[in-house]
């Protein structure tokens, strides 16, 4: 083989590989960023953060009217049950508000959302570090071919073969119904004496997110999630204080659904509704979503709730 032929073959095959891999990935478009994703059903595969970050760029604005901003506490809330406003669950397992805001900000340029559901939980403002990956626009380039994309394909293949996808096209993550011990991070947060620790950077991000939503004229539905009555009883003052702090930024058109109110006492007392006292079982999450739907319908019936028309 001549030197010219060797160089041409090596460089040619390399370029062919690069262009071929990028071309196939752009065609498959697992995150809906390379072509119009309207009408597609894209589930989360691979790294949840990367997937939701990219899905929120085009897929969510093209197919949904509202978004849930939250942590693992709301990750298994199947928002397909809310039919009055098509809602995507962008909650991240173990996610804090800085990560959530980065994901949410992706939806802003499209100006398509009609409302935001913000889950009020001290976990969101307890830290500001990116847990697994620092979400930046370079993820768009990585979506043309990278190790995280390879993981996403493996995940998708596994789902297709075993038909047990962990996350659906509405962003819901199945957590199951079996009880489990509370994870160390939540245990540490709830076990800390006094007020819940608040990371100043995370708190600023939370306020910035609320201000951003308000500046675009969108209403926020603040949802204070349920937790087992025994846990709530032991920290009721701290939970109430935390909620008051976050709700201090509430605007006139915003709504609050408070699952820690006396209306939901029976629900909270039923330990079977919780996996670990904080996270709901999938079955209980359906009940919570059904209640959210009911509250939205009630508001609409009372003429209180008017989501702006989609432009």
């Amino acid at each position: 083989m001549s030197t010219r032929a060797w160089l041409a073959t090596t460089i040619g095959v390399t370029l062919l590989l690069v262009v071929g891999v990028a071309g196939i990935n752009a065609f498959v478009d697992i995150y809906g960023i390379f072509r119009n994703p309207a009408g597609r059903h894209l589930a989360v595969y691979g790294d949840e953060r990367i997937a939701k970050y990219l899905l929120c760029e085009k897929y969510v604005p093209a197919n949904f009217d509202a978004i849930v901003v939250g942590s693992s506490v709301s990750a298994n809330w199947d928002m397909s049950g809310v039919d009055s406003i098509k809602t995507y669950n962008a909650s991240l397992n173990g996610g804090n508000i800085v990560e959530e805001k980065t994901v949410f900000d992706q939806t802003l340029p499209a100006h398509r959302l009609k409302a935001v559901f913000l889950v009020v939980h001290p976990f969101l403002t307890s830290s500001h570090e990116f847990e697994t990956v620092r979400l930046t626009p370079r993820e768009n380039v990585a979506a043309l071919g990278s190790l995280s994309l390879l993981d996403a394909y493996k995940d998708k293949l596994h789902t297709l073969l075993h038909k047990d996808g962990a996350t659906d096209a509405f962003g819901t993550t199945k957590l199951g119904d079996n009880p489990q011990p509370m994870n160390a991070i939540v245990r540490k947060l709830l076990g800390s004496p006094g007020e819940f620790p608040i990371d100043p950077i995370a708190f600023d991000a939370n306020r910035a997110l609320i201000a951003e939503v308000h500046s675009t004229g969108l209403p926020i539905v603040f949802i204070i999630p349920p937790l087992s009555e025994s846990l709530l009883e032991s920290r009721s003052g701290q939970f109430a204080g935390y909620s008051r702090l976050i709700l201090g930024d509430k605007a006139l058109g915003d709504k609050v659904i408070d699952f820690t109110s006396p209306d939901y006492l029976e629900f909270r007392k039923n330990s079977a509704n919780f996996k670990d006292g904080v996270h709901l079982t999938d079955r209980a999450a359906h009940e919570v979503v059904a209640d959210i739907r009911k509250r939205l319908d009630d508001w609409a019936g009372d003429g209180q709730r008017r989501f702006p028309d989609r432009q």
Binding site: L7, T10, R134, L147, S148
Partner: protein, 478 residues
């Protein structure tokens, strides 16, 4: 600009390689050299444009000093000798001051006693990329010129020699007489293409070492050296070994890429690594690790110190190696950890000299084990932010109550197979048992297997490069 960036890989390297070859062929070596010089200055300026003026200033100073050192009038030898020596001294002091003002001045000021509670410090300048390397290259050039090993270069040749992009940022350290003649030589196209093929192969191997293997080790090492909690013995070893492998694959990967990029231009530069972790003694290690720096230490530090002491005995030799290695440690940066790293190696080399002198023997495998364990321990000082942190990790590697705990390891490192476990396993096998990159390039045969293999390796590297933000080379910090 980093070798492991898309800008370098897809724009700079192809444009410069093709452009240099085209100018060589159609416009002659001098025009090609001008193109190479300009490209190298652009390469250097990309990181921080202002530093290119420091590089140019350093080049101008050393060129002028070398002209002063060069012998012009043979009849006036005695007079010339004194003048030449003064010029050399001026050059050495100038270079040391230049390096010192950016790297060491504040370090020394910090260790001076405070005057009425006031400490004098200079603004904390970040030092120019590659300053340690291009300064040492020019010190070698001045000494070689003084010793008559090479004639003073023209400014054009000297600027090209010092600023050439394959090695300006992190070496290898090159000698003028090995590089400058190659710039003016017109090479046969077929010969150049043959070398370019090998260059592309060794470049791909170096890139894989960096982006696939070194960066995987770095994830564990960074987490381990950043951890302040108590560590088990297992974790102590995993974290320290991770850095030992990281720095090897990072720096040898860089050196392979430097050699590969230079070969693609048809220029031969020295290799810097030769499977150092297979060494059976510490002196063998330094003959295989950062070879160009080892040669510098031997020829320009150890030998002059030994000569200055008059007589070469075991005692003077031990003293010279201790001083030379401590200075070499300090060369890496203004920190006690680097000085300790160098001094520890100096002590080990001194012990090795005594051992050899007494003609003592030990089985090869014990020699290898001792050397590797020592090198690993010394790198703990090299990587740690300060001496207490180094001692903390060093203590963890010794037997203590917690032998096999993995809580720190689990907490900081998600051990994903593709990103970490496989590259690390592959890296360990490569470091101890596989052919070196240089051997692979030397035994390279042009066929479809090697062409597809190289292409696949480059493809895998690009996949890894696109997966995370490019990580700087370890030696960019020096």
């Amino acid at each position: 600009m980093m070798f492991n960036s898309f800008r370098f890989l897809f724009v700079f390297l192809p444009v410069v390689t093709v452009g240099y070859a085209a100018f060589q062929r159609y416009a002659g070596p001098r025009v090609a050299q001008a193109f190479l010089l300009l490209s190298s200055l652009v390469f250097y300026a990309v990181a921080k444009p202002v530093y290119v003026f420091l590089l140019i200033g350093s080049i101008l100073f050393n060129w002028a000093v070398a002209v002063g050192i060069g012998i012009e009038d043979v009849d006036a030898m005695p007079l010339q000798l004194a003048k030449r020596k003064r010029m050399l001294q001026l050059g050495l002091v100038g270079n040391i001051l230049f390096l010192g003002s950016f790297k060491y001045f504040n370090f020394f000021l910090l260790h001076l006693p405070a005057y009425h509670g006031i400490r004098f410090t200079l603004p904390d300048w970040s030092f120019p990329l590659g300053i340690s390397f291009f300064t040492l290259t020019q010190i070698m050039y001045l000494v070689d010129t003084y010793q008559g090993l090479n004639a003073p270069n023209s400014l054009f040749d000297h600027a090209t020699l010092v600023s050439m992009f394959p090695y300006v940022t992190s070496g290898p350290l090159v000698r003028s007489r090995a590089i400058v003649p190659q710039l003016t030589k017109r090479t046969d196209t077929n010969d150049r293409l043959e070398v370019a093929c090998r260059g592309l192969l060794i470049f791909a191997l170096g890139l894989a070492k960096k982006v696939i293997i070194a960066d995987s080790f770095a994830r564990i090492a960074d987490a381990g050296f950043g951890s302040t909690g108590s560590l088990s013995m297992l974790e102590g070893w995993v974290f320290s070994l991770s850095y030992t492998f990281q720095i090897y694959f990072d720096f040898s990967g860089y050196s392979d890429m430097a050699v590969g990029a230079a070969w693609m231009l048809g220029i031969d530069i020295p290799i810097n690594f030769n499977a150092p972790y297979r060494s059976k003694s510490i002196s063998e290690f330094w003959q295989r690790w950062h070879i160009s720096l080892s040669n510098f230490i031997t020829n320009y530090m150890f030998t002059p110190i030994l000569r200055a002491m008059g007589k070469a005995t075991l005692k003077t030799s031990v003293f010279a190696v201790l001083v030379a290695m401590a200075i070499a440690g300090l060369w890496h940066g203004p920190a006690w950890t680097f000085i300790l790293f160098g001094t520890l190696h100096g002590i080990a080399l001194a012990c090795n000299q005594v051992w050899k002198k007494k003609r003592l023997k030990m089985p090869d495998w014990i020699g290898w084990l001792l050397t590797f364990v020592f090198v690993n321990a010394a790198f703990i000082f090299f990587r740690s932010p300060n001496v207490p942190a180094a001692l903390h990790l060093l203590r963890a590697t010794l037997p203590h109550a917690a032998l096999f705990g993995t809580s720190a390891l689990k907490g900081v490192v998600p051990l994903t197979p593709l990103l970490i476990v496989r590259p690390i396993t592959f890296g360990i096998v490569l470091a101890f048992f596989f052919k070196t990159s240089y051997d692979v390039a030397r035994s390279f045969a042009r066929n479809y297997l090697s062409a597809f293999g190289t292409a696949l390796l480059l493809g895998a590297c690009i996949l890894y490069m696109n997966s995370t933000a490019a990580k700087e080379f370890v030696y960019f910090a020096f």
